[in-house]
Amino acid sequence: MKKLIGIVGTNSATSTNRQLLQCMQHHFQKDATIELMEIQNLPMFNKPTADKLPDIITEMAAKIEAADGVIISTAEYDHSAPAALINALDWLSYGIYPFVDKPVMVTGASYGALGSSRAQAQLRQVLDAPELHAMIMPSSEFLLGNSLSAFTEDGALKDTDIIEKLDGIFADFLVFVDIAQQLKNAHDANKKAAADFDWDKIR
């Protein structure tokens, strides 16, 4: 069974994105284990000059490294991903490269009708940056709009159309994870490229 990490893309104590991941965790328990990862209480990224990263960051990196794939469910603040999520990704690409070639599925929930579409679009560009270099599942947008009223009391999605859509995308993601395994020929080179990458040296 596949081991996945579900990153809660907000630091808010109450979050419909957390609810969405919890719902997926339960709904897909026969197909995969999804461990939720929180990004609360991380220090603000400030390009520290010391070599040593905070322990919490290295622990998160190790879990991502060990996982078959990652689901990131992003909230949308001001048409982009929350600072807390960008912060986590900056730490997780600062001298460590757990996301390189990691299969990633992007989801998102928002209070309004659009379901964090703009935050997701920006997040995809972020994950594509050279020091993250994730393998983002293409052509697969999962947007949960009106998220405050999307769940039943026991945390299941109410709308059967939406469940169907999620089922389809998640099944595809499991296949994508397998395909990604086969795309690993260049992995060592990619990893090295990320580690050697220097914003100074490109033109």
Binding site: M44, K47, T49, D78, H79, I86, D90, S93, R118, Q125
Partner: protein, 428 residues
């Protein structure tokens, strides 16, 4: 014109900070520029609202009163820094100071293409309804290869880059004036009560403000500490006597007026007649209306209302005191820790000894322009590019601590003729 620069980097060493510092220095005579930092601000957290914190409120106040904002963004992973994004989230949650504010985006990066993607993201962010800033279209100031861009004095090396920055800033100033025309009629600032009929939290009630013995009468009410009693300050511990000694040693005359327009204090450095402003102990406690002639009321009201509204931080006015002097009355707004207006520190300072001292120490000369008329400094026929008066005086003010102590050695108070600003007291 008052502009605010936001340093979008939380790093200790930041090229984006350096870029804004360069703008601050280089364009000092075109606009007022204040830098604010995103480092050390708390991470935005919807479930732990810190909108009311001093740090966020101070930024809120500064942004509200700025005519325009320049944001310098680094690029991390193709987007803006978490620290910058976090600030914008605070400023779009319970408060919206950036709404309809003209904003210009600049960015410095190690890389050629640098910050182009972050700048695009930032535009989208600033354009979202919760932020609703008015971002200047079209211009993209990308400072690539930034590690090689500055010389040892923090100046941009490349002349074309300097010219491009200059033209972008000119456009931004125009953009601001166009945007401000979109606003409704200019706001009317509330009238000022120069008779201090209201009160503030620190007003001592039931004492006749016009009394010649206000200090004694007020003291009988509140029993202020004095003499060798210790007082704790930000930051240190002094006795009341030490505070008095400190204030009297200042090379300028200070007057404090509170938020209720009541004259509460001056540093009594010498006899009334030999001070630039002829303050007398009996005047303390007066409403400031009593310290100014009626003909000056409108002007005084205008200055105070602008300081109170945060349209100005300081208003400076040169007042002639005869040859060999350049006496300036500075009306500096006071704020409490929450950033609320708390009154005025009026300090009166003769700049001439500072300028003389600076010129002597650096071997520089004031040349060009109508130097004589301004400062009485030596005139020199000269067509070469110079540190004309504005540039020079700017540097002087940056050197203040040293320059002032130098000045005090020399600045013997001489009997002034008039005190045009405060006017003669009615009691005079």
């Amino acid at each position: 014109m008052k502009l605010l620069g936001i340093v979008g980097s939380a790093a200790e060493e930041s090229y984006n900070r350096q870029l804004l510092q360069y703008i601050e220095k280089e364009f000092a005579n075109q606009f007022d520029f204040e830098l604010i930092e995103v480092k050390d601000l708390p991470m935005f957290d919807e479930s732990n609202d810190q909108t009311q914190s001093v740090a966020i409120q101070n930024l809120n106040r500064k942004i509200l009163k700025a005519d325009g904002v320049i944001i310098a963004t680094p690029e991390h992973n193709h987007t803006v820094t978490p620290a910058l994004k976090s600030l914008i989230e605070w400023l779009s949650f319970k408060i919206h100071p950036l709404a309809t504010k003209p904003v210009m985006i600049v960015g410095a990066s190690f890389y050629d293409q640098g910050t182009s993607r972050a700048q695009l993201h930032l535009r989208q962010i600033l354009d979202s309804p919760g932020v609703n800033a008015i971002v200047m279209p079209g211009n993209e100031f990308l400072l690539g290869n930034v590690k090689k861009a500055f010389d040892e004095f923090g100046n941009l090396k490349d002349e074309k880059t300097r010219a491009f920055l200059q033209s972008n800033l000119q456009k931004f100033l125009k953009f601001i004036s166009v945007v401000s025309k979109l606003d409704d009629a200019p706001e009317q600032l509330p009238d000022e009560d120069l008779q201090a009929k209201g009160s503030v939290a620190t007003t001592i009630p039931d004492v006749n403000m016009s009394s010649d013995h206000w200090v004694e009468e007020a003291a009988a009410k509140v029993h202020p500490v004095k003499g060798d009693t210790y007082v704790q300050l930000d930051h240190g511990i002094l006795t009341v006597n030490q505070i008095d000694e400190l204030l009297k040693s200042m090379p300028f005359e200070i007057t404090l007026v509170d938020g209720n327009n009541q004259f509460l204090y001056f540093n009594h450095t010498s006899e009334s007649a030999s001070m630039f402003a002829h303050r007398k102990p009996e005047q303390v406690g007066n409403p400031i209306g009593d310290c100014h002639p009626a003909r000056a009321y409108n002007h005084v009201k205008q200055v105070i209302s602008m300081l109170r509204a945060g349209k100005l931080d300081v208003f400076r006015m040169p007042v002639p005191h005869g040859p060999g002097k350049y006496v300036v009355h500075n009306y500096q707004a006071l704020h409490d820790t929450e950033g609320n207006y708390a009154g005025i520190n009026e300090y009166i300072l003769d700049f001439q000894p500072i300028i003389d001292w600076y010129l002597k120490k650096t071997g520089k000369e004031l040349t060009g322009g109508n130097v004589d008329a301004v400062s009485g400094a030596s005139k020199k026929d000269n067509t070469e590019k110079t540190d004309a008066v504005p540039g020079a005086s700017k540097k002087v003010s940056r050197q203040q601590p040293d320059a002032i102590s130098g000045a005090s050695e020399k600045a013997a108070p001489v009997k002034p003729d008039v005190d045009a600003v405060s006017g003669a007291s009615k009691k005079d």
